[in-house]
């Protein structure tokens, strides 16, 4: 009697559970699972929207890795950008968060100001930064010249165009700072007090208390910034569109060109699949490595 009642409850829960997540089940199948598999399939075809798609085996991949210099360039550009942006945004975010985590007045105002750039629409942000980093009249170069410092030609110089993107992106990475700040407020005060009694200075406290306790937040940030920086598109499209000398031809931008300007959808699918493998591998190894450096000694709350 009791058993059947429990069984009934279980059945009801199962039914209700499925019912509540049913939009997601349909959506996942239609908008993720099917496209995910289809991209893999298309990557072995020569799909061009109008004509019929033809199975061509690994020809797309062969062309990408052996013949297509632009593919290699875009891969290099994207890795370059990610390798610069991910650590720098973390360091800058951390510095701001540490400064804001003191007893200063107007903390929430400052927090809002530092966060503000991250909500500016990318298209507007792109135009603004092309103007700010204008090599002759941009305010950054005007300032550098006033300080008698060398003024790079930013988006006119293949060596400085990617750093230009990195500076803009750091300006707009307020999310990183917010997450770190939230992590900082979770660090119990007593730990610092005890450390102070032991004669620890501020640097000791940061290295031995703050950073270890922030590692879960840092892992989260590294993963989202990794995924984000491999997909930089909108600003690249409106700001430089790959120029100068393809130095800002980022991966997603090239993928877009291949797919929606030349309509080589099979080729674009192969590129998409390669990006997925790269991002997945990097995120996975980051996650795997976290066992060694992320401190889970104390859960929040």
């Amino acid at each position: 009697m009791k058993f059947s009642k429990v069984g009934k409850l279980k059945m009801a829960n199962m039914r209700n559970g499925l019912l509540f997540v049913s939009p997601f089940l349909i959506g996942f199948a239609v908008f993720y699972l099917y496209p995910f598999i289809a991209t893999f399939y298309y990557s072995f075809t020569s799909h061009n929207l109008l004509g019929a798609s033809r199975w061509i085996g690994v020809l797309n991949y062969e062309e990408l890795f052996i013949q297509d210099d632009l593919f290699t360039t875009s891969l290099y550009n994207t890795f370059y950008y990610a390798a610069l942006f991910i650590p720098l945004s973390l360091v800058v975010g951390l510095i701001i968060a540490l400064f804001l985590n003191t007893n200063i007045k107007g903390k929430s105002l400052f927090r809002a100001i530092y966060f503000l750039p991250s909500i500016i629409p990318f298209v507007a942000m792109g135009m603004l930064w092309v103007w700010i980093l204008n090599s002759r009249y941009g305010i950054i170069n005007e300032t550098l010249r006033a300080l008698r410092l060398p003024a790079p030609r930013w988006f006119s110089d293949p060596n400085w165009s990617k750093p230009g993107y990195v500076i803009m992106s750091i300006w707009a990475s307020g999310q990183t700072m917010i997450i770190l700040l939230a992590g900082l407020t979770g660090v119990p005060r007593q730990l610092y007090e005890v450390a102070e009694l032991d004669g620890a200075n501020w640097l000791h406290k940061i290295i031995h208390i703050t950073l270890p306790l922030l590692t879960p937040a840092i892992l989260f940030i590294l993963i989202i910034n990794l995924i984000g920086s491999f997909q930089i598109f909108t600003r690249a499209y409106v700001m430089t569109d790959g120029a100068p000398a393809n130095s800002t031809l980022f991966y997603s931008l090239y993928l877009y060109r291949v797919s929606f300007r030349y309509f080589r959808l099979g080729y674009g699918s192969a590129m998409a699949w390669i990006l997925f493998v790269i991002v997945f591998t990097l995120a996975w190894s980051l996650f795997k490595s976290s066992a060694r450096w992320v401190y889970y000694g104390r859960e929040e709350g």
Binding site: V21, P23, F24, F115, I221
Partner: protein, 280 residues
């Protein structure tokens, strides 16, 4: 004792200086956008840069509006944005409820699927979805820009709501269940009203993303009259490349609504991000 107090004050002084200097640096680009948008061309290319437009040329905005159909793009953007906001509020909250407040075997699998969607690069699904919408005859319509939001696939929102729902005591819904309340009534009458801050954050983020989105309108919209603000702005740049003041004016017009929203709801933005950053 006194020297300690003084060194303490110096420390605070340094902190304030750094924080204020940094805040000004972060604000300058935006200020520069507005300043440039109000200048006459002769005042733009001068050294040293001038911070106060003289004369203040509001007329620039009138000129922008003749080339840049701001109000049409605004309506288009609001249309897409509101559909998306409604879509994610309804669908993501249902899914989040289903994996937090109902005990059933599949809920962890669903959560893993949500996470996998969260880290999936959008380019992986882009081409097949384009072909799918092409076959449906949806290219050039707004449908590709909002339909998916009704299927709970914007995992960030589901994740955010899950974090919030987990903090609502299960005992509440269990008690209601004993009183004969249906799952849907618990969801609708208990959990949703308690989750207003989280729902508000979801609405804000979705609004912001749709407002700022560029790739989807670029790929799917073909008729210039249907452009969104972001797409229209990029198009405007393509046609009026040289006039920096007008370009900054148009950029300001696209940015100002977002700034107004942020001004009134900054706490929700920040709390929403905090909620997703915490381990769960």
């Amino acid at each position: 004792m006194r020297s300690k107090k003084i060194s303490h004050m110096i420390q605070y002084g340094i902190v304030y200086l750094v924080v204020i200097f940094g805040a000004i640096t972060f604000l300058i680009p935006l200020v520069w956008m507005f300043v440039t948008s109000l200048k006459i061309p002769a005042q733009i290319y001068v050294y040293p840069p001038e911070w106060i437009p003289n004369p203040v040329k509001w007329g620039n905005y009138l000129q922008v509006l003749t080339f840049f159909p701001f109000f049409r793009y605004l309506l288009n953007t609001l249309y897409i944005t509101s559909l998306n906001v409604v879509g994610v509020l309804v669908s993501c909250s249902l899914v989040a409820y289903g994996i937090t407040h109902i005990r059933w075997p599949g809920r962890n699998i669903i959560f893993i699927l949500v996470i996998s969607v969260l880290i999936m690069p959008y380019v992986v699904t882009l081409i097949p979805l384009y072909l799918m919408y092409h076959r449906l005859g949806w290219i050039g319509s707004y449908k590709p820009l909002w339909v998916s939001s009704f299927f709970g696939v914007w995992a960030f929102h589901t994740f955010l709501l899950r974090q919030f729902f987990l903090a609502i005591p299960q005992e509440l819904s269990n008690a209601a269940k004993i009183d004969g309340c249906s799952e849907f009534r618990i969801y609708w009458n208990i959990v949703l009203p308690l989750s207003k801050p989280a729902l508000f954050a979801v609405a804000l983020f979705e609004f912001l993303w749709t407002w700022n989105d560029f790739l989807m309108p670029l790929v799917y919209l073909t008729n210039q009259k249907m452009y969104t603000l972001s797409l229209g702005l990029a198009f405007f740049q393509g046609t009026h490349d040289t006039a920096v003041n007008l370009l900054m004016g148009a950029s300001s017009l696209v940015t100002i609504p977002v700034l107004i929203l942020f001004f009134f709801a900054q706490r929700s933005f920040i709390e929403g991000i905090t909620l997703t950053g915490l381990k769960g």
